[in-house]
């Protein structure tokens, strides 16, 4: 032995059993952080790569630049690539209302430069170019619609005349979809199946616009070089060219990965992510401190002995700290390896089992971020956690070693109150409350578990909003439209019957639609007064009405049963600016109808809002009675789950039947986000389960240590006449004190944070979702408390019951 510190590894070898709990706690904390950060890094890398593939590799998009200014920006040393991008004849709703056609098909025009193809976007086929003035790259569907291939000539008809182009390539969507359900805002030139998109050189584009007297305001895409200080570069450009904030659009996900965002929503996420990380850190510190405290408490006689032999307080503090770091050697290594192994396992599972957008998930990669965070968290939390126990150990008096009265339960300062409570309950509560430090640590551990659970539940609600899992979601839809692309009720009922008989089809949900139907609705100031208002009228069949209940899409007080059949009851879509409420009366034609229920949000819009338009939902019979219309406007088709081959065959048949009738067919199978949703659920609840397990281990350890410290006292109590049941209740009272105090603080702070997060993450974006007290989660919390206390009490009380009283007194 070189110094007294050489005692540390010897002590570790001898006290393997006693140190097990601390090693487990450190390992768990490190594993948790390593796995989370590694998975997050892999997930983010996957999302970024996927996003780059779909939306392009660019950082910002500028408006309001002149050619000269654009050239100056392109010449900057930190700009890797840049390109003009102009677009005409395609609005946000994918409507084309100008006279640009190729072979009779509506065409949107896009003016770009070569870097747009080679550097910025990744969805052009090999060899695509717009170097020549008459080169054109078409959207992939042009191969079928126009029957063209690379090298063929196409004629573009414009208001100013016709132009011939040579096809140099195609814009590959990769998945056969042309309309992204999320609007494809970041993806250039997505068109509908029967439309064509044409990319040409910006010079040709500008000439066409000029000839047709079109105003197009091209935007300028910029890709910065690697390692560029993005914020500084963007601020410089903005200042130099006097650009307003609205003139600069960020590639949201890519910029967010660099920590930069001008998106209020993303900005709300950063502090919340930081808050969650901090909470995990604190939970780890509490857990490890509690274990170390108990460990030190058991060894006060040993530390007293060291003081007896001449160790100074400083040396004892150093001993405890280094001992803690010694544990890190093994625990951090095991935690990191476990974290990486779990990350690889989960990544492989996501990639090969879930697939879909996780197909790009990297599997066997080393996440240095995850490893570093795990190591740092392990060492930092252990070092922080060791401070208080080290000081406590240094307080051990040399007399403790001599007398054997190690005082490891501390000096009692207050008596137990036996007036109002039974003796065993009073003693148990007093044991818990007597050590303020221990009470704080245990309460903190419980509270943090509860807070994290309530906060994560909000994240799950958020994902549910972003990836709603609705029973009514169709696998495909068929719409009938007129020449002007307006929805019309032309789908015959017999067509719906035909579709429903196809093998693999589970349900066919038909809707009839009448826009701007004249009605009279109550005024906002006086609901008894009706005033004229055009409403959108939509029919739902009974199955669809039941799905509203199943999906919990109805506001409180709604009664679906009243709406079914030819009834005078209807549903309305709620909006915060709408005057309608349940039991209001409206008039459509001669019929007086009553609102029997309200939908929480508009299922027909991307953001759930009504956009100021009132929508009334009625049964099929009521709709036909009001309008006389029998044909459907839209059919939603739901397939049976399981057989992919059967699904593909059914899709082909339905597509063919739809196209025969000139209906618009849309396969929405790729919009199925169930797998991603459940992956997130598993991840979130898995994380919460680990936190809960840490709390459970913590309290089990703490109670076990507390019982061990008081074992002699318990023996004396048994000798004097305390029954085994009373002893168990005393230990349970101690455990419940920790649990209840943790529960009170955890629920109070957790509910506050839950509401804060909900308001900022969900209500700010989906205003129709408002926070409500999460009763279900609170019940889970209470059940968790009960299970934890039971588990914590069971082993120690059984241990004492199985010992003779003399053994308990002697503590053996």
């Amino acid at each position: 032995m070189k110094s007294y510190l050489s005692l540390i590894p010897i002590s570790a070898r001898v006290r393997k059993k006693q140190n097990r709990m601390i090693l487990i706690c450190i390992t768990l904390a490190v594993f948790l952080v390593t796995a989370i950060f590694s998975l997050a890094e892999a997930g983010f890398a996957m999302q970024t790569r996927d996003h780059i593939d779909v939306a392009g590799y660019w950082h910002i998009r500028l408006s309001g630049l002149s050619e000269e200014e654009a050239q100056q920006i392109a010449d900057r040393a930190d700009v890797a690539a840049s390109s003009w991008y102009g677009l005409i004849n395609l609005d946000e709703d994918l409507k084309m209302d100008k006279d640009y056609y190729m072979d009779g098909h509506q065409t949107a025009l896009c003016g770009i430069e070569e870097p747009f193809i080679t550097d910025i976007m990744h969805y052009f086929s090999e060899g695509s170019h717009v170097t020549g003035e008459r080169d054109v790259i078409l959207t992939e569907n042009a191969q079928t619609l126009l029957g063209v291939k690379v090298g063929d000539t196409v004629t573009l008809d414009t208001p100013a005349g016709s132009l011939d182009f040579s096809v140099s390539g195609f814009r590959i969507s990769g998945d056969g979809r042309y309309v992204n359900a999320n609007g494809g805002q970041e993806s250039a030139l997505l068109v509908k199946e029967d439309q064509v998109g044409a990319f040409m050189s910006i010079r040709t584009f500008s000439a066409i616009c000029s000839a047709a007297r079109e105003s197009c305001d091209p935007q300028y895409y910029i890709q910065f070089k690697e390692h560029t200080k993005l914020k500084k570069a963007i601020d410089e450009i903005q200042a130099q060219y006097g650009l307003a904030d609205e003139d600069i659009k960020f590639n949201t996900l890519l910029m967010a990965s660099k920590g930069i965002s001008n998106n209020t929503y993303i900005k709300n996420v950063y502090p919340l992510a930081g808050l969650l990380f901090l909470m995990i850190l604190v939970a780890g510190v509490l857990m490890i401190t509690s274990s170390m405290n108990s460990n030190v408490a058991q060894r006060m006689q040993f530390f007293g002995m060291l003081r007896c032999l001449g160790a100074s307080k400083r040396q004892i503090i150093c001993f405890v700290r280094l001992e803690a770091l010694y544990w890190c050697r093994i625990a951090v290594l095991v935690g990191v390896l476990l974290g990486m192994a779990v990350t690889w396992g989960l990544s492989a599972g996501l990639k090969y089992i879930v697939g879909a957008e996780f197909a790009y998930m990297p599997v066997f990669t080393l996440s240095w971020v995850g490893i570093l965070c795990g190591v740092v968290i392990g060492v930092v939390t252990v070092f922080l956690a060791a401070q208080a126990p080290a000081k406590r150990a240094a307080q051990a008096s040399p007399m403790a070693a001599v007398s054997g009265a190690a005082g490891d339960i501390g000096q009692v300062k207050r008596r137990a109150d036996t007036r109002a409570l039974k003796i065993e309950t009073a003693l148990g509560i007093h044991h818990a409350a007597s050590s303020k430090k221990n009470l704080f640590l245990m309460t903190g551990s419980f509270a943090f578990s509860i807070i994290l659970f309530l906060c994560f539940s909000v994240l799950i609600d958020l994902v549910d909003c972003l990836l709603p899992q609705k029973s009514a979601s169709p696998d495909m839809d068929i719409t009938s439209v007129d020449e002007d692309e307006n929805v019309v009720n032309d789908i015959d009922v017999s067509f719906a019957d035909t579709i429903s008989k196809i093998e693999g089809v589970a349900h066919v949900l038909g809707r009839r639609v009448c826009f701007d139907f004249p009605a009279e609705i109550p005024e906002a100031e006086d609901s008894s007064v009706l005033s004229p208002e055009n409403v959108d009228l939509i029919s739902y069949d009974d199955y669809q009405l039941d799905l509203l209940v199943k999906d919990d899409d109805l506001r409180k007080g709604s009664d679906i049963e009243k709406v079914k059949g030819d009834s005078p009851y209807v549903l309305a879509i709620w909006d915060r600016d709408m005057p309608l409420k349940i039991e209001d009366k409206i008039r459509i034609g001669e019929r007086e109808l009553m609102i029997a229920g309200m939908l929480k949000y508009n299922p027909f819009s991307n953001d759930g809002s009504t956009g100021g338009k009132m929508t009334i939902i009625v049964s099929n019979e009521t709709f036909i009675g009001l309008t006389g219309i029998t044909g459907y406007a839209i059919l939603d088709v739901q397939m049976e789950k399981g057989d992919a081959g059967m699904r593909d065959r059914a899709v082909g048949q339905i597509r063919e039947l739809s196209e025969t009738e000139a209906y618009v067919f849309r396969d929405r199978g790729d919009e199925d986000t169930r797998k991603e949703f459940y992956v997130f659920i598993v991840f979130a609840y898995g994380f919460i389960a680990i936190i809960a397990m840490i709390t459970l281990l913590n309290i089990m350890n703490s109670i076990s240590m507390s019982v061990s410290a008081r074992i002699g006292q318990y023996g004396a109590m048994r000798a004097v006449g305390m029954s085994a049941g009373q002893l168990t209740r005393m230990i349970a009272a101690e455990a419940f004190t920790y649990a209840v105090s943790g529960c009170v603080i955890g629920c109070t702070v957790g509910l506050f944070l839950s509401r804060y997060m909900y308001d900022h993450l969900i209500t700010s974006h989906f205003y129709y979702f408002t926070w409500q007290v999460p009763v279900g989660q609170l019940i889970i919390v209470f059940v968790f408390i009960f299970v934890t206390v039971t588990a914590a009490v069971y082993a120690p009380s059984k241990r004492i019951r199985d010992m003779t009283v003399t053994d308990v007194i002697s503590g053996s």
Binding site: R415, L427, A716, A719, V720, G721
Partner: protein, 227 residues
């Protein structure tokens, strides 16, 4: 009538060659109201004997009858209640509950029974024990002698049939030891308590009415005289 009757108690620890016979066929009786001291060297088996008498441990064979009841025929819960109400313990290390005051420690067995304590008897006991001024104090605020008095008070409060004292003066100085022994004698006489006291100090054992000796697990009755 004999309050305590011990019949052929044996206690063996371990088995085979490592077996240790702590008590070998110990039999004796103690009449009601007698103050009996059990002496013996360290490791002789006297504490083991006391543990058997208080049902704190289970004998390998034999019987212990207290007031005619075979205590080892009772199940754990009945035995616990019997011990609470009929046996008082005084330990060498006092073993007071540190969170309870003097008064609470004394009435502790009654609290375990969820009963209200006899206040008059409590006042009397506090006076006899000289603890009236200390009734609200915690054990860590008392001297060793005072703590042992509290332990005696706790042992007496339920008016048990039998008081078992295991080296009650072991942690006390000579003056406190004398006071505690005097107290035990006084309460034995005053409340007609039967006391069995373990001690290795033959001088202290002289205060008892009768002395038993345990040597290598074998008990012999020394009467009032001892060698």
């Amino acid at each position: 009538m004999d309050l305590l009757e011990v019949r052929s108690i044996c206690k063996t620890y371990g088995s085979g060659e490592a077996a240790v016979r702590a008590l070998k066929n110990v039999s004796f009786t103690v009449p009601k109201g007698e103050f009996t001291a059990v002496v013996g060297e360290s490791g002789s088996g006297k504490s083991t004997l006391l543990n058997m008498l208080g049902a704190l441990d289970v004998p390998t064979s034999g019987q212990v009858l207290i007031d005619g009841k075979d205590i080892f025929q009772m199940d754990d819960s009945r035995l616990t209640i019997f011990r609470r109400r009929n046996i008082g313990f005084v330990f060498q290390a006092f073993n007071l509950i540190p969170e309870l005051t003097v008064e609470q420690n004394i009435i502790f067995p009654v609290l375990l029974d969820y009963q209200k304590p006899d206040k008059k008897y409590l006042e009397e006991l506090l006076a006899v024990l000289g603890l009236k001024q200390r009734r609200g104090h915690l054990p860590n605020q008392l001297s060793g002698g005072q703590q042992q008095r509290v332990a005696i008070g706790r042992a007496l409060f339920t008016r048990p049939s039998l008081i078992l004292a295991d080296e009650p003066t072991g942690n006390l100085d000579s003056q406190n030891s004398s006071e505690v022994i005097a107290l035990l004698k006084e309460t034995s006489r005053k409340y007609a308590q039967t006391i069995v006291m373990i001690t290795h100090n033959r001088g202290i054992a002289q205060a008892a009415d009768r002395v038993l000796q345990v040597s290598d697990g074998v008990l012999s009755d020394l009467g009032r005289c001892f060698v």
